[in-house]
């Protein structure tokens, strides 16, 4: 065991994980917004099936999800041409599917809680649809965005099964924290497994603490 807290390989895994979580969260916030908006306000008969689809990653074993993603990205799959398997981009795509409900559901709830009236009122005050979104929806849904971002980020940090299936273990490309921990344990290198695991545990705790303290503060602000 070296004198440093984390080996260069582990540092690389940490950096990759943070990058993966950050990109996943950012993209999900962008693409999840219209989806969550639609789920919160549509009366379409497609709403229930789409909602169920979005919630699937909550109940499916990640390995099942990873397996189908692998098939999709494999040489016979519909995404074969993009050569995504065992790349960072493929991993990003998988993470987005895997963390989708954690971002979309808080957004959907936040949008639904705003209700119809502030939007109608803003329209009567002359606000265009874009202005209504920018100046009414976004600020009113901000707590939902904070929750969605933190949950999406934290959940991606802990991803394992999907990575195992579609990412493999390529240092700097697909070797994320959870995989690194698994490797250390396999190699009976408990010390390194420990420092990585403890780091992840602490980070996740701090992130969740952030969400819950902001919630309590909001309740007291009124």
């Amino acid at each position: 065991m070296s004198g440093e807290w984390l080996s260069p390989g582990d540092l690389q895994a940490l950096w990759l994980t943070l990058r993966l979580a950050a990109f996943t969260t950012l993209l999900l916030l962008i693409f999840g917004t219209p989806l969550a908006w639609w789920l919160a306000r549509s009366h379409s008969r497609w709403r229930a099936p789409v909602e169920a689809l979005v919630a699937l990653p909550l109940v499916l074993p990640p390995t099942v999800l990873g397996f189908y993603l692998l098939l999709a990205m494999g040489p016979q799959g519909p995404l074969a041409g993009l050569s995504l398997a065992f790349t960072f981009t493929g991993l990003l795509l998988g993470s987005m599917v895997y963390s989708l409900p954690f971002v979309v559901q808080p957004l959907r709830d936040a949008f639904a809680a705003i209700g119809e009236q502030p939007l109608e009122s803003a329209a009567c005050l002359g606000a265009t649809p874009f202005e209504r979104f920018r100046h009414v929806v976004l600020p009113m849904a901000r707590p939902g965005y904070v929750t969605a971002a933190v949950l999406g980020f934290a959940h991606t940090l802990g991803e394992f099964g999907v990575v195992l299936m579609i990412g493999g273990n390529i240092p700097g490309e697909t070797r994320v924290l959870s995989i690194a921990v698994y490797e250390h344990v396999e190699a009976l290198d408990y010390a390194n497994a420990h420092s990585l695991s403890a780091g992840l545990l602490l980070l996740s705790f701090v992130l969740l603490l952030l969400v819950y303290t902001s919630r309590v503060r909001r309740r007291h602000a009124v």
């Binding site: 009236q117 502030p118 109608e120 009122s121 803003a122 329209a123 009567c124 005050l125 002359g126 606000a127 265009t128 649809p129 202005e131 209504r132 100046h135 009414v136 600020p139 009113m140 901000r142 009124v222």
Partner: protein, 355 residues
Amino acid sequence: MTVEVDLRLSKGDFRLDTAFEVPASGFSALFGPSGCGKTTLLRAIAGLERHAEGSVRVGEQQWQDEQQALATHQRPVGFVFQHPALFSHLDVQANLRFGMQRRRRDDNALAFDQVVDLLGLGTMLGRRVPGLSGGERQRAAIAQVLLSNPRLLLMDEPLSALDQTSRSVLLPYLDQMQRQLAIPVLYVTHALDEVARLADHLVLLNEGRVVTSGPINELLTRLDLPMAHGRNAESVIHAAVYSQDDVDQLTELDFSGGRLWVPRVDLPVGTGVRLRIRARDVSLALQPLSGTSILNSFPVVVDEIDDDGPAQVVVRLRAGDQSLLTRVTRRSQRALEIEPGKALHAQVKSVALLA
């Protein structure tokens, strides 16, 4: 200049099919029982009911016709909701500014300070929305809407969600608006006392249709309409302050049918006022009475008579160019030979100054 509305809309079993025209100034009340489509009609005028067809014209602006309809944000409309719709993430001042920022300011635009004064918001500007009472919220919401410089103000039962105290606090502000606003107001309510107090014009609705519309007093005293027959039947008289009696603390009012004394009001001579006279406070006599405690008596001519239950009739009287109602028993009708054209004297037990 008028506001012309002709709108059709189906919602499940409910059908709205309304056409009316009101003056492009003053308060016009949309009055009718709950569920008659008042709110839906108001929302359709604002463009909030997507499936409404027909036309809406405000002065020279066509907001909607059979071919096309402006989206809500393109209509210079102000909407005061039953439950005040302030933005909870902004303080009062920012809420008011939100109303100011979106639309072009022109000569008609009210100044920020003017609106703050009109609705008594001076001390509330820095407060956050969740800390406001219902009445304060509604005042701020009205100010927000006024500052958006609307061409037509729509008010959907702005008092009905408030408790009695907040209501009586807010009403004087509405009186002020009634006197000072230049833009037309469509005011939805099912409370007759609000109609009498505020409205210049009345649109009577029932089951999604316009029963009739016209100047307030003309409709209140029409014997073929339900308002003249209720227990609270009343008429609105326009008068002006004529003189002040400082000794007895009374004010003398002048209207086209005579003079009236009311407890002193501090308004300059010549100021126009609205009076409400209830049918049950008016009695009739063949000659002017002496030896009575009733101060107010003036000559009237019987206009029209209609049945009002087994024992009574309701009578519309003319005093000058104004109308008022009274209810008398059939026995009195016979004894006084009350019939259209008959000249009599009316005693009025109580006159309420409305605004």
